[in-house]
């Protein structure tokens, strides 16, 4: 079992509904966020290219954040989901420094927080909040180890990329380009 996501940049319009839905679902205080939109624009008028995508923790297979955590608060659970136990986190911020994706933030209550892949929903058989609300249906979530899951099929059938592969973290979020 290895949970992952595929996100279709050809469909994403960057509306940030995923951001708001994550905030309301997970009661993230206003001004903080576990997911965000990146826009990359290239070229000169009128020969332009734009890529828009929704980003969050990549739930990497190789996790610098977990390795650098001095207390073991950062850990990996079943299905490869990278989590932080808030009670064990001392707020040192080592993991924030080590993440090549800037995916973690310091919660105002003094611990580090990040995307959980909405494991509380996944446990109930629901999709993560961000995936379930996207009006463009550009996100797919599921078990990458199961070749018949929708996410595996989408990854297999399309041209894909991961973010910052050179960092060697082996992200589990794949972007369709």
């Amino acid at each position: 079992m290895r949970y992952g996501m595929a996100i279709d940049t050809r469909k994403c319009v960057g509306c940030a509904d995923c951001v708001v839905a994550c905030q309301t679902e997970n009661n993230i205080p206003i001004g903080y966020t576990r997911d965000w939109i990146a826009e990359l624009n290239e070229g000169t008028y009128p020969n332009l290219h734009l890529e828009i995508r929704s980003e969050r923790c990549n739930h990497c297979e190789n996790t610098p954040c977990v390795r650098t955590c001095p207390t073991g608060a950062s850990h990996i659970i079943l299905g490869g989901i990278v989590k932080v136990t808030h009670e064990e986190c001392i707020g040192c911020g080592a993991c924030i420094q080590s993440c090549p994706y800037d995916a973690r933030y310091m919660h105002p209550d003094g611990y580090v927080d990040k995307c959980t892949f909405c494991d509380h929903r996944v446990a109930n058989g629901q999709e993560p909040a961000c995936v379930s609300v996207c009006p463009t249906h550009c996100m797919y979530f599921g078990d990458l180890d199961d070749p018949n899951s929708e996410v595996s099929k989408v990854v297999a059938a399309n041209k894909i990329k991961t973010l910052a592969p050179e960092a060697g973290t082996k992200p589990q979020i794949f972007y369709l380009v």
Binding site: R10, K11, V13, G14, C15, A16, D17, V19, V20, A21, Q23, T24, E25, N26, N27, P29, I30, G31, Y32, T33, W36, I37, A38, E39, N41, G43, T44, Y45, P46, L48, H49, L50, E51, I52, E55, H86, E87, P100, Y101, D102, A103, Y105, P108, D109, H120, R121, N124, Q126, S132, V133, C134, P135, T136, H137, C138, L163, A164, E166, A167
Partner: protein, 749 residues
């Protein structure tokens, strides 16, 4: 490369540092959450209430969830709703922010003037507010007739206020959604096909093979169902043609992006018509069977060649030909998108006529992948007495003006309210329900002059907006999450009904619109027009007439009904009588001709920018609707202020740096109240600048919206009126940059 989250923050969020400074963490649920240990509210313990979203006209139906403490937690789409398919847009998801916003209007307010002449608002009771309003309404009626009381409205609660005015005896009702938005489109389609488009537009985007966007930035305007269907169509390989001087989000997803010179769209449309007729690539069978006036049209567009249009639009003749062929290849599964906010240059009905004609030639009206035939659920009217018949209405204000206007024209009401009005139908008092006229109607000065000429002004809203500052009485309405309203019946592929029930008690001393109107009506002796204790009785009665009930609807939220009338698309060779004079789709419009307008659209050149000035183009950003969202805590966290898109060539000529703050001055000398940050980007033409609508709030009670960016409406002082519908063309304003705010204080004193 390290993906830099801060870069996103620049584009789509305020970032944590900035937010920590800017937000007041006083939202109901935040302190509670900060105290508690981290636990996710649990869907299984939550309660949910049916509602439909009021953050934009799309009115998506969904569920409002409350947590164990009965606090509103989240809003999720209703999967049975054909308008949302269970998925909201960010504004709808962020609708919780409207409820949580502590800047909301909290109590009724009354304007008082002290001995020194200083005016302030004082808190009053609902009783006092109602008594004052009833007294004034009676006075206005006795002195001038009830017709002299006008209503400006927007959204669901506007219906209750329209009922109040009807009972009182006035039909002077208008919404900016017509003359400041889709008016010309509705009339252009009506004279062509015999039918306006209504809302949401019946576009069969999911099955289209070619989508032409000319004046639509779908994906930045989050017209939910259309965005969803466009995404589905992208998955199926649709070819998109986007015409926009700006490299919009959807331009980046298009096969063809035509970076047109702004204000020349009609030249392109006419050239497309020329190519499609001359190369005989129109839907010949359809055109022959259903349309009127092909020969006249052919002659009319003879000289509108791609080469001619190329010189005007700065596009290449080849691109114009290629895109015309692309459409014809997809015909009839092609949509030349009619747009929505179409009030641009003052010849908008004619431009939209060209759009309608093009769709007719391509045979897309009534065809799969084109325009489907929508159907709407009907609920019988709750019993009420016969309404008094007003002696005059907005149509009599300037007889003969704007003959095609199909519904109330806001600016006509403003004309009749203005000191310069010399006619017999003066307006003396305003009700303003749910619309911030300062941001929604251009030429703010004229609106204010008219407003100041009124004997009495009442504003009803959930939030303090610029307009509330001008009221004599301000009434705090509760949000859509805290009230009943009439069920949503909007058209779709299948008729459907969506329910709205309150999910929480109104915060502060705010009240539902229906209650406000009922109380006022009772005091002016018209209580029998609101013959119920609670509006839920009306809803239940209506629902029971069509075989459901409030109880059932509370469980399902949305009910789909079967189509009663025609099919979704025309049948093969079906005989169809269109609701036009000729019974055909009118390429040549007999209605336009009879009213003294060009029966077929002619190109007229519009004003161009002069040296150092740039055409101001405004539009949407996905997180905001208009000024109603720019103080919402959730949505301002995504985007707190607008920025001004400036081409790098322009920026380097002026020596500007990215993010620099500038004031704008328009070609009539109007200077922006606040500065705006510039975003230097290749995505905008050198002759134009772009910004998002709804920002630059001037009401200090808006702690998140005040002074954030600029209001594009403020820069629109030069208004070109559409002769057919009276709609206000707003894209004829040109701005230049000021690095310092000129000292206007001196001039004013």
């Amino acid at each position: 490369m390290k993906t830099n989250r801060r870069e996103f923050i620049k584009i789509s969020s305020m970032g944590m540092g900035a937010l920590a400074l800017a937000t007041t963490p006083v939202l109901g649920w935040v302190p509670g959450f900060l105290k508690d240990d981290y636990t996710n509210p649990d869907d299984s313990k939550a309660k949910r209430y049916a509602n439909y979203c009021e953050v934009c006209f799309w009115n998506c139906a969904g569920w409002v969830y409350t947590d164990e403490k009965d606090k509103i937690w989240k809003i999720i789409g209703n999967e049975d709703d054909p308008h949302s398919n269970g998925r909201f847009c960010p504004r709808g998801t962020g609708g919780v922010g409207m409820y949580n916003d502590n800047d909301r209007l909290k109590t009724p307010l009354k304007r008082v003037t002290d001995e020194s002449g200083k005016q302030t608002f004082v808190k009053i009771s609902w009783e006092e507010a109602f008594d004052t309003i009833a007294e004034k309404m009676t006075e206005i009626k006795d002195n001038y007739g009830s017709e002299s009381f006008a209503l400006f409205k927007h959204g669901s609660s506007g219906k209750h206020f329209a009922q109040l005015l009807k009972a009182y005896g006035s039909k002077n009702i208008a919404a900016p959604a017509y003359a400041q938005c889709k008016g010309p489109r509705e009339e252009a389609f009506k004279v062509t096909f015999g039918h306006p488009l209504h809302s949401p537009e019946p576009l069969d985007i999911r099955d289209t093979k070619c989508l032409v966007l000319i004046g639509s930035h779908l994906g930045e305007n989050m017209h939910n169902g259309q965005v969803q269907e466009m995404s589905e169509a992208i998955g199926k390989g649709v070819n998109i043609i986007t015409v926009d001087p700006r490299f919009s989000t959807v331009a980046s997803k298009s096969k063809f992006w035509l970076p047109i010179k702004p204000a020349t769209d009609l030249a392109l449309l006419l050239a497309w018509i020329h190519v499609i007729i001359n190369e005989e690539i129109y839907d010949q069978k359809y055109v022959e069977k259903y349309t009127f006036g092909l020969e006249s049209l052919k002659k009319h567009v003879e000289n509108y060649t791609p080469e001619w249009a190329a010189g005007i639009t700065t596009l290449s003749a080849q691109d114009i030909r290629d895109t015309a062929k692309e459409m014809a290849n997809a015909s009839p599964a092609v949509i030349v998108h009619p747009g929505r906010h179409v009030t641009w240059y003052g010849d908008d009905t004619q431009r939209l006529r060209a759009v309608a004609i093009l769709n007719a030639l391509l045979g897309s009206w009534g065809r799969r992948g084109g325009f489907f035939m929508p159907e709407k659920a009907k609920l019988p009217k709750y019993p009420e007495p016969k309404a008094p018949k007003p002696k005059w209405s907005w149509r009599d204000i300037s007889p003969g003006k704007y003959p095609l206007a199909g519904t109330g024209v806001t600016n006509l009401l403003i004309d009749a309210s203005h000191p310069d009005y010399e006619g017999d139908h003066k307006i003396k008092a305003w009700f303003i329900a749910g619309t911030n006229l300062i941001a929604s109607i251009p030429d703010i000065k004229r609106t204010l002059d008219a407003l100041n000429n009124q004997e009495f002004v009442v504003v009803v809203d959930t939030m303090p907006a610029e307009i509330t500052g001008y009221a004599d009485i301000v009434l705090p309405e509760c949000t859509y999450l805290e009230r009943y309203d009439s069920p949503r019946l909007a058209q779709h592929r299948e008729p459907n009904i969506a329910l709205r029930v309150p999910a929480a008690e109104p915060r502060f001393d705010s009240k539902p619109g229906w209650w406000i109107c009922k109380e006022i009506a009772t005091r002016i002796g018209k209580g029998d027009f609101f013959d119920y204790k609670d509006f839920s009785e009306v809803i239940d009665w209506q629902l029971k007439q069509v075989g459901t009930s409030l109880e059932e609807m509370k469980k399902i939220g949305v009910k789909k009904l079967n189509r009663k009338y025609d099919d979704l698309y025309f049948l093969e060779d079906e005989e169809i009588e269109f609701h036009t004079n000729t019974g055909k789709i009118e390429l040549y419009s007999t209605t336009m001709e009879a009213n003294g307008f060009d029966p077929m659209p002619k190109y007229t050149a519009h004003q161009e920018s002069s040296e150092g000035f740039y055409r101001l183009i405004y539009g949407r950003t996905p997180a905001h609707t208009f000024s109603r969202t720019t103080n919402n805590p959730n949505l301002t966290a995504l985007k707190a202020e607008n920025d001004l898109w400036v081409n790098p060539k322009v920026a380097s000529e002026w020596g500007f740096k990215n993010g620099q703050k500038l004031w704008l001055q328009n070609h009539q000398g109007k200077v922006s109240e606040f500065p705006i940050k510039i975003r230097i980007t290749e995505r905008i033409r050198w002759d134009s600048v772009f910004t998002a609508h709804g920002f630059g709030r001037t009401d200090k009670r808006l702690t998140r919206g005040y002074g954030r960016g600029i209001s594009d409406s403020e820069m629109v002082s030069d208004v070109k009126i559409d002769k057919e519908t009276g709609s206000t063309g707003m894209r004829n304003n040109f701005v230049t940059f000021l690095t310092e705010k000129p000292n206007t204080a001196k001039k004013e004193s």
